[in-house]
Amino acid sequence: MESVKTTFGSFQYSIIVLVVLDLVAALLCSQITETGKHHP
């Protein structure tokens, strides 16, 4: 985060990077097989 802050001059830009990464994680998880009901 420090490096993003140095680049953009604010930690708030780092948070925007984290928000985007969080959305990427949600997208990755949406591609995973549902395991709850059935057995592997």
């Binding site: 985060m1 990464l21 998880c29």
Partner: protein, 261 residues
């Protein structure tokens, strides 16, 4: 040299604790209770983290650095001895009938497990999720500074974030068990936590940030037990610990990246 040796000892021990949570949950509990069991195990990790963060300064100032470490070493030894006495690796009767027929661990099964698309996707999501948590925990004071939040108030907001996570680690896994669904909870948690993260961009009053941190912790932190449970269910109970170790391996790299970069 001694410091390196004993730090290595602690580091070697950590994966055995971290990776056993989901393994124990799928071994001991039926499928309809396993996420809650994993959630309670993860909750203990968060509680321990919160307690040690608040108690360590007091212990260090009151007794000194070495006695503080001795107190934690004694607690760890007591915990380990207690677990050795009362802990059992598996129940006499498997909670799920097909667990008896679960694929036995082998290097071939291990390679197939860690190369599966689902485990790779989950590992990438863990890399991001744990990095996000570590980045917030490390830089929260600096992030809140532009909004005129003092170090003390930032500490309170950080504490509320953890409390939200503790509550979420009970409520959301229980809901996942009740509905028998994993993916909608995992995706939903990450989407809501992304929205809640925006409070650190927009800023606001102390109360607003406090409420936002509670919501963020509530939805972000339960993704750990649900993710661990999904990994265990993907590979089967015999390799649940191995799958958790793969995810935790990615988490560790993410920790290093987010706290240092």
């Amino acid at each position: 040299m001694m410091l390196l040796l004993f730090q290595a000892g602690v580091a070697i021990g950590q994966p055995f604790v971290m990776n056993s949570v989901s393994k124990l949950a799928v071994t001991w509990f039926p499928r309809k209770e396993s996420v809650l069991a994993t959630g309670l195990g993860s909750l203990a990790l968060f509680l321990g983290m919160m307690l040690s963060l608040s108690v360590t300064p007091f212990l260090t100032l009151s007794f000194g650095f070495e006695p503080m470490l001795m107190v934690y070493a004694a607690i760890a030894v007591i915990g380990a001895v207690f677990f050795l006495i009362v802990g059992r690796s598996k129940p006499k009767i498997a909670p799920e009938p097909d667990d008896e027929a679960s694929e036995a661990f082998s290097s071939k099964a291990f390679r197939r497990g860690i190369r599966s698309k689902d485990i790779m996707l989950l590992s990438a999501a863990f890399f991001i999720g744990v990095g996000l948590f570590t980045a917030l925990a490390t830089w929260l004071e600096k992030v809140l500074e532009p909004f005129g939040i003092s170090i003390t108030d930032a500490g309170i907001i950080g504490g509320v974030f953890i409390v939200g996570g503790i509550i979420g680690s009970i409520v959301i896994p229980a809901l996942s068990d009740k509905t028998g669904r994993r993916k909608p909870f995992l995706v939903g948690e990450l989407l809501i936590s992304a929205a809640a993260l925006m409070i650190f961009v927009t800023g606001g009053s102390f109360m607003f940030l406090l409420a936002g941190a509670l919501v963020l912790g509530f939805f972000l932190m339960p993704s750990l037990p649900i993710g661990l449970q999904v990994s265990a269910e993907l590979v089967g109970s015999s390799m649940a610990g191995t799958a958790a170790s793969v995810l935790c391996g990615y988490s560790l790299r993410s920790d290093l990246w987010s706290s240092s970069s």
